[in-house]
């Protein structure tokens, strides 16, 4: 067992302190040390995307990153996505689209979608499918998730008044 390391970081807008072993992965630190159990571990080898969080605005697999690497970073987990206690438009769109079933992969899809739509506000279906191909869902066959992302892009565009891609 190696010595623990103290570090500060910002999680969901709040300053937090961690005191962790250097080998502890970020996902475990979020779940165990900060009690943020919304971030799920589906494979622990970087393939399934369930543990995706935003680190300084970038979608990152928190099973492949050590907690100590997040020193000073700004992290967004699924718990920080709601706005004033209301579902974020991405979450609302997923809800209206019946996008998910068991919910285990869901936090990863929510975060990946936030990152994707920030870069590609008006995506085509092909772009959506390409962008989310790093997140595995075993329940849905994906069609409802793709529909949810499309609806989310429309909801977000309606907020900003930006033009959206029509249909597919």
């Amino acid at each position: 067992m190696s010595a623990r390391i103290r570090l500060e970081l910002k999680v969901n807008g709040k300053s937090r302190e961690l005191d962790v072993e250097p080998r502890k992965i970020l996902a475990d630190a979020l779940r165990e040390d900060l009690g943020l159990t919304g971030t799920h571990l589906g494979c622990e080898h970087g393939v399934c995307g369930a543990c995706t969080v935003l680190v300084n605005g970038q979608a990152v697999r928190s099973c492949l990153m050590l907690a100590v690497q997040a020193r000073g970073a700004e992290i967004l987990t699924v718990e920080g996505v709601e706005r004033d206690g209301q579902l974020h438009p991405v979450q609302q769109a997923f809800r209206e689209s019946h996008s998910f079933q068991c919910g285990f992969c869901t936090p990863g899809f929510v975060i990946s979608t936030l990152a994707f739509l920030a870069e590609t506000p008006s995506p085509s279906e092909e772009e959506i499918r390409e962008a989310l191909s790093g997140n595995i869902c075993r329940c849905t066959g994906y069609q409802s998730i793709v529909a949810g992302v499309r609806l989310a892009s429309q909801k977000l565009a309606a907020e900003t008044g930006a033009p959206v891609a029509s249909g597919a």
Binding site: H40, C48, E79, H98, G103, L132, I136, R138
Partner: protein, 774 residues
């Protein structure tokens, strides 16, 4: 407002979209320890020694348990559910022999999972290799050792059934065709692995076992017996479950080992399986060989079938149902919606040095795969169109009711309507023209069509045909003091949305807003007994029926009280939006909430001496039951150079009766189809010929992603009801039929190359072998 038939938003989504779901790994109990398993790297070996001294001395390590501890703490695990099944007796950890790669040998309990895994590396296990039994051929080879000495043979179950005069029918046939079909081992692979928190309290002598399961009562039933803890002191709790698809409907040796560790230590112990363990050592499904012989006339009329099935159950059977039980469903369902004069089915179940075999979404799927594959092969041999051979032999509405040759009554069975409807949704002749033109350019395009029927739940005579029944389903319905309803279900949802659909059923029946109904589940302290929990497509009919009739009984009592208050006849009353009123006189009304509070607080002073009824347990037997059915059509293009199969279009025409929530139905259908596609093109729980496991990561075991699953078009039919509860199961259908539809399409695409497909796993490399490219 009626909610049935609307895609009302799911109750579950408020929590799962915000990270507030409570899955087993989110459960933290004060004083909780963490476990990790040492597993066998050998497929078959004798354990010559275990040295855990070093591990036990490591900081943070609390205990190391081995098979010897299991023998001391537990009764042996064995199966008595199926007559004629030769069950071995075994323990939560291997005692003297390991029987598959991943077989648990020791469990370390430590202050953290990191420390437990460190200590696993420090345990030295000596092994002496034994001859592996890695394949069905090995298992049937008497020169190979029996992997369970107490059983003495690797053939654990054999059974034969004959319907009609098989010899006479085959003797009279103009044509006889035989094919051997092979289905590969693949697996459920839910996104949440297995996991549990066992918490044995030595002062109360109670085990509280929190687990990701489909069947809390099934787990309790098994753990209570194996650990010798009385059932009233064995409590199984389950919260959100991150998918299961059959895999979490069983009791595993790890469940026993972790419970035993907690009992031994008197402390809570958590175990969360990692993905490598899950892929290697939880369980796999589907591995079967089936030889099918068809007797037919030259005009394509089917006369008889002979089937010989061998199922490879791997090593240890899972409790409480052995996989051999599913062979009965294969036997009964193989004839499907087609008419036959004679039929025989021989079953052999073998043991081998592989992970256990588990039910996977339609665990009887082999029957549909071989039947629908064989119909195309027979049509090809007779130079018939694959649609024509189906139409020629399929039972029509006018012919019903009629018995399947295996016994069950086909009534309001609409397979033919789904086939006809699917052909009305596209231009079949035009596709054949396009296909011909494409072939002239060397392009390989194909169309596959396949049809299934599923007993979801099936007619009353289904259980006689199977030789076992799944029993009634109970729901508990309680009218609360404010007029809201609490529904306690025996279901254990894990993605199906029962908190939504069962609330829809209760709300509509009672005449209250959807938000006034709360559905609860997942705690053996208060949920009704069910050995199955959620599985077998039972919930749509069985759980809904129990909730509907239970709610109706409460409603009838409420209306009697209201009738006295409103001085009206019960028949003249209605309940809408939680308000009871006289039909046509809305001012004569009383809120349901008032009746509810009176039922509790003034029970002896109700108008006209009416009796209150605030809680009921209702047992539902399925009424007359019924069938779910669908036809799937799949269009593919096969790349001659790469062997890649591209799905150009996928169309489903299904009939599950009345849809409670169409979006949930469609999600079930699409999810099942995606798993069927995965099974054909990507997924393989592969072993080498020596029994070494080869697919222990998501880089080896490939799951379909957004770029592999096509848009799936769905068209719904709704056959008029045979019973008041006209909701049919839809959980299995997609996975049941997609392998047949897709492999039919691939063979059709490869027809110019003379390829016949009798196996189910068709990744690019295999396609290139079949086409002779490599």
């Amino acid at each position: 407002m009626r909610t049935i038939g609307t895609s009302i938003q799911r109750v579950e989504d408020e929590r799962v979209l915000t990270g507030r779901g409570r899955y087993v790994d989110d459960v933290v109990v004060p004083g909780m320890l963490h476990a990790a398993f040492v597993r066998s790297p050998h497929p078959h070996a004798r354990i010559t020694g275990i040295d855990s001294t070093k591990a036990a001395a490591m900081p943070g390590v609390v205990a190391v348990l081995t098979g010897a501890d299991m023998q001391r703490i537990c009764n042996p695990m064995t199966i008595q559910m199926l007559q004629g099944y030769k069950s071995p007796a075994f323990f939560g950890l291997a005692t003297d022999t390991v029987r598959f790669v991943g077989d648990p040998v020791a469990v370390v309990v430590a202050e953290s999972r990191y420390l437990a895994e460190d200590a696993c590396d420090a345990i030295e296990v000596g092994y002496a290799s034994l001859t592996p039994v890695a394949t069905i051929e090995h298992a049937l080879d008497p020169s190979r050792p029996a992997i369970f000495a107490d059983v003495g043979t690797n053939t654990l179950f054999e059974q034969s059934h004959t319907y009609g005069d098989v010899d006479a029918v085959f003797a009279s046939a103009e044509r006889v065709f035989t094919e051997k079909f092979r289905q590969h081992r693949y697996a459920n692979v839910p996104m949440e692995t297995r996991g549990c928190v066992a918490n044995y309290d030595p002062s109360t002598r109670e085990l509280v076992y929190t687990v990701a399961t489909q069947s809390p009562h099934g787990v309790r039933f098994a753990l209570s017996g194996i650990l010798g803890i009385p059932a009233d002191r064995t409590r199984v709790v389950s919260g959100d479950v991150g998918g299961a698809f059959g895999l979490k409907g069983f009791v595993y040796r790890e469940d026993v080992a972790i419970s035993a560790a907690s009992k031994h230590l008197g402390r809570p112990v958590k175990w969360i399986e990692d993905r490598n363990e899950h892929l290697m050592a939880s369980a796999h499904a589907r591995e079967e060989d089936l030889e099918l012989t068809v007797a037919a006339r030259n005009d394509g009329t089917l006369l008889g079938l002979k089937a010989k099935l061998v199922m490879n159950q791997g090593s240890y059977p899972l409790l409480p149902f052995p996989s051999a039980l599913f062979t009965s469903i294969m036997r009964v369902m193989l004839p499907g919606p087609y008419k036959l004069q004679a039929y025989s089915f021989d079953t052999t179940v073998v043991a081998s040095n592989k992970a256990p075999y588990v039910a996977y979404r339609a665990p009887w799927e082999m029957e549909t795969f071989v039947r629908e594959r064989m119909l195309d092969i027979v049509a090809h041999e007779l130079q018939m169109d694959p649609v024509d051979i189906r139409r020629k032999n399929m039972v029509t509405a006018a012919e019903q009711p009629i018995h399947m040759i295996t016994g069950p009554t086909l009534e309001r069975m609409s397979a033919r309507e789904t086939l006809d409807r699917s052909l009305a949704l596209f231009d079949y002749a035009a596709f054949r023209d396009d296909q011909r033109k494409a072939r002239e350019h060397g392009e390989l395009r194909g169309l596959g069509i396949a049809t299934f029927i599923e007993a979801a739940p099936g007619p009353r005579d289904m259980s006689a045909a199977l030789g076992f029944g799944l029993g009634k389903e109970r729901a508990h319905v309680r009218l609360e003091t404010d007029g809201h309803l609490t529904v306690i279900t025996a279901q254990m949802p894990h993605g199906q949305g029962h908190e939504t659909t069962l609330a829809q059923v209760a709300a509509d029946e009672m005449g209250v807003p959807f938000e006034h109904v709360r559905v609860v589940y997942g705690d053996t302290r208060y949920t009704p007994f069910s050995l199955i929990g959620t599985g077998g497509s039972r919930s749509a009919t069985m759980a809904s029926g129990a909730v509907l009739y239970g709610t109706r009984r409460i409603k009838e009592a409420v209306l009697k009280i209201a009738a006295g208050m409103l001085e009206a006849s019960v028949d003249d009353l209605q309940i809408d939006e939680a308000m009871i009123s006289v039909k046509g006189a809305p001012q004569r009304a009383v809120p349901l909430a008032q009746i509810a509070i009176m039922s509790y607080m003034a029970a002896d002073h109700l108008p006209g001496g009416a009796q209150p009824l605030t809680e009921v347990d209702h047992d539902f037997d399925g009424d007359e039951g019924g069938w779910a059915q669908a036809t799937h059509a799949c269009w593919v293009t096969v790349d001659r150079d790469t062997g890649q199969v591209k799905i150009d279009r996928y169309l489903v025409v299904e009939d599950c009766g009345t849809m409670i929530n169409p979006a949930i139905v469609e999600g079930q259908v699409r999810g099942g189809v995606a798993q069927g596609i995965g099974g054909v093109l990507y997924e393989h729980s592969a072993y080498d010929e020596e029994g070494q496991f080869l697919a222990g990561t998501f880089m080896d075991y490939l799951l379909p992603t957004t770029t592999e699953v096509p848009t799936i078009e769905i068209d719904h039919l709704e056959t008029p009801p045979i019973s008041p509860v006209n909701f049919r199961g839809v959980g299995e259908g997609g996975a049941l039929i997609a392998p047949a539809a897709l492999t039919n399409a691939i063979e059709d695409a490869l027809a110019p190359l003379g390829v016949k497909i009798t196996e189910q796993y068709l990744p690019p490399a295999r396609i290139l072998e079949l086409t002779g490219t490599i």
